[in-house]
Symmetry: D2
Subunit: 301 residues, 4 copies
């Protein structure tokens, strides 16, 4: 049994913390919105009144926060982890942030006597709830080895991909592919709808061949059902595409398709759909073909 | 047992014809390059000396040809199927051609007393060899029902998606998604390589999450191994992207991402890579980042 | 004085025919909508009751029609020019059509004993009204030389760019650049408006440097004034982008930017703006940034 | 006569400083590469041994530097302008930098008792040499009025577009349009060359119509002559496209075409052409169509 402070109990963090608690660990959760700790308590965990309160006594500090500034603040702020965690504490950052920020924070953590790995995840809300996440881990071998038993509680595929920051780099590539796959699926659906195809039949057969993907499996039927409840919000995917774009620029590589997809994600946000699931990228693609979401029936009565 | 004329014994057609022969059918193959019939003979089939020779006596005529003009020619030419097949013969066109041409040919076949369905496939060479193709079928219910036992010999997912031409429309959508997925995977790999990531580890973890796809499963390791032997050639995917582009235009829909991907496929062909597998789209993406195929080592010694 | 049959008296054709009449030529106009001949009559021309009526007795037949099928029909139909024009008649096609169709029709005209050049124009409604068009001429030297005095009545820049069809090829390139320039101007205006810039001042200074263009001079103030009355309609520019796309494909070249712009033109049409001026591409760009035309005030009260 | 410290005597700064000297001002130049002051001295100016040396005694400090960090460093460094300039000195920053950095530096300058305007320019090397630049000015009215006589020495179009930073915002829009115009011109030329058109004739007629632009006038013949000597380097335009991309993201607007063009500029740099003129974007477009610069003859023997 490990004592784990889990900071950030949103759509992703909450089920992850619950899985850790159900696996027998002593999980002390904290979220800026206190009522979000309720499901964790139901699962056998505890709630802390503040960040420092959660961190005190923890052997491991897990973070699942929205963006680079949030992680930086929670780690290095006055009430932050670096100031309150015991020497040797292992920090597992599940958040998706900039690779360069991740590497910098790991160095700061080391200077403060802590150990830190970046462990961003893929698989979405379903993956978090089913403990079936894919986890891309960056950090020192020994720290990754120490974290692995906990990572395997929440993830199905746990891979050590390189030094600090490498997990975030792979996650950036993941987000590039996922947003692109949603865009392509959306264009295919709009195309098929315009041609009067039987959409559920088309989705079934597309899924069986080389066009098959996790995005198609998880998102197509929701799109056809006009169900864009998050899930993973456009706002967050927009943030992630910014990470991809700037990391590509820094590395001197061109990502023409990813860059166009980033623009479509930005347009989805600009249209006021930032709070919807990232599959709402479909709505932008549909609008570009004159198929507004209001009038849209997906060819069904 | 059904007597089947199988015209077009290339990378896809040959293993499909063999599966039908091994399933106990009397398969008479014909290809413009006669030696391509050899594997079919080894599998228990027969070889015809000409198209009319193959068609004579056949209950079913199967076609697997490169492009719309080929199918039009083989069906409606002087030595064509419409002129030589017995009334009531069922024509199964596995080729990927223009939806409007498919619908037109089905009408011509009906006028000539034949029955015709479009049944383009997805799954690539591996799908053909493992009889695991995804088949998108357009045509009249009765004809699709009659063909289904044969389709299920070569395919794992067989779905009737609409009237004549609908199979081709869905196949066009399939090709849009597949080419796009190859482009996205390529951009991700170039991005990761430039960041010095452990590429095989990255591919493993990407495949486990929402970025997972059939393209990633089948193509990533080949790309990393500089193995671009076809498989499905860029030249053919370029032809297919032309079908997508013009069918989208006819339907009045915008496919911005698919359209950019079509340009990258065109660029791959213009670079002289038209004879390589469609995963050679990677080479264009790599060149755009100054990573020419000649000097490229994928970060491995 | 030359007797000229002028077929097609729309936004472009009408002022061109008037200029020819005012220059002293005997211009006999015909349009499917008879009242369109009124301004020509006011300018000293005549109106014909039918195509054959206009063509009979003409030394030159000028065409200004919307698309390839229109020109093909007017030339080769039962009541067409080829059937009714006197041998040796010079046909000047000002329409913008497919280069391959233009070359084919020139050959048909030659077979019928006529001479034909393609002479598509650029400069828009203003260019037509001010006799300041840019004319890109394809055809045989002698025919171009014969036509030149008439071309110079309506155009300021008249250039012989190659054999039959070459004028249309250059016009396709022209349309690629023009649509692209409108898209870029639109993105710049949306960008500047979002940043709260003084838009008229910005347009003035942009026009004085390397960003200056005919599109900026002619379209920026209209866009800022929400004036999208045609001018040259989106529907026609959409048709032209189809010509560019297929001609690029035939030539084996990639036009990634032009291809994306073609998608945005298609989206503008899909949004119901096909009847507006091509500068209405701005409306699509603005919508992509959440700046709908209904609520938009361009930062002005 | 005004005493002007001019810091940064490169391709642009050198002719600008010379024009100011020839106009009768006392211009003291400084560049990290001392021999770059030679032409200024020949024009009647003086050379300083260091930044502080130049700034001391100056009424106006003009800057023409490559990027945001350079300007920040020259202004706020230990040897910087803010530390050494007399109270009330007017700083004119001709450099192209980030709008937010420009606004921040103007605030710092004000806090240090100086006055600062941003005055980025367009028109390229030719514009600088011919004193025909377009200057987009951001700052307080009184400061812009004080600077105007000097700005009009080097510029033909001088427009006050808003408060501090607004000049940079407009310049960002300028760079978006210019890079896009180069890309469009390049695609048009590759398209025309592939069709065997007479390129100089095509350029002439394109320039006379709605496709006409400053880019076409200044760059087309150089491109056709394989002359890619800078001029304005790809490396700098790549930097500028980064400014556009991030400023668009901050403003919440989508710039799909600009974004694709930014990728093509990045690809040009990745191909090793970063030191060439920005018209070398053509080389990337040509390569995408299989027309490498080595074998390319532009259809001429």
């Amino acid at each position: 049994m490990t004592t784990i402070a889990f900071i950030g109990l949103g759509i992703m963090g909450s089920p992850m913390a619950q899985h850790l608690a159900r696996a027998g660990h002593d999980v002390v959760g904290f979220d800026a919105t206190p009522e979000k700790a309720k499901p964790l308590i139901d699962a056998g965990g505890r709630a802390a009144d503040s960040g420092p309160d959660a961190v005190r006594g923890a052997e491991v500090v897990a973070l699942m926060l929205p963006d680079s500034p949030d992680v930086t603040d929670v780690l290095t702020g006055e009430d932050g982890v670096l100031a309150h965690a015991a020497p040797g504490t292992l920090v597992i950052d599940f958040s998706t942030i900039r690779p360069d920020v991740a590497a910098g924070l790991a160095a700061e953590a080391a200077a403060a006597g802590l150990r830190m790995i970046d462990a961003p995840v893929s698989g979405g809300q379903a993956g978090a709830e089913n403990a079936a996440l894919s986890i891309m881990v960056g950090g020192v071998d020994a720290d990754v080895a120490a974290a692995r038993p906990l990572l395997e509680v929440v993830g199905k595929t746990v891979v050590h991909v390189g030094p600090s920051g490498a997990g975030q780099t792979v996650k950036a590539a993941n987000q590039l592919i996922v947003a692109g796959n949603i865009a392509l699926l959306s264009e295919a659906l709009v195309f098929l709808e315009a041609h009067g195809a039987d959409l559920p039949a088309a989705v079934e057969v597309l899924g069986g061949g080389l066009a098959g993907s996790a995005v198609l499996n998880q998102k197509a039927s929701k799109i056809l059902g006009d169900d864009f409840a998050p899930g993973f919000r456009i706002d967050l995917h927009h943030k992630d595409m910014g990470i991809v774009t700037s990391a590509a620029r820094e590395a001197g590589v061109a990502t023409p398709v990813g860059s166009l997809v980033a623009q479509l994600v930005a347009a989805t946000r600009a249209a006021g759909d930032g709070g919807l699931d990232h599959s709402a990228l479909y709505r932008t693609i549909a609008r570009l073909s004159g198929r507004g979401s209001d009038t849209q029936t997906h060819g069904r009565p």
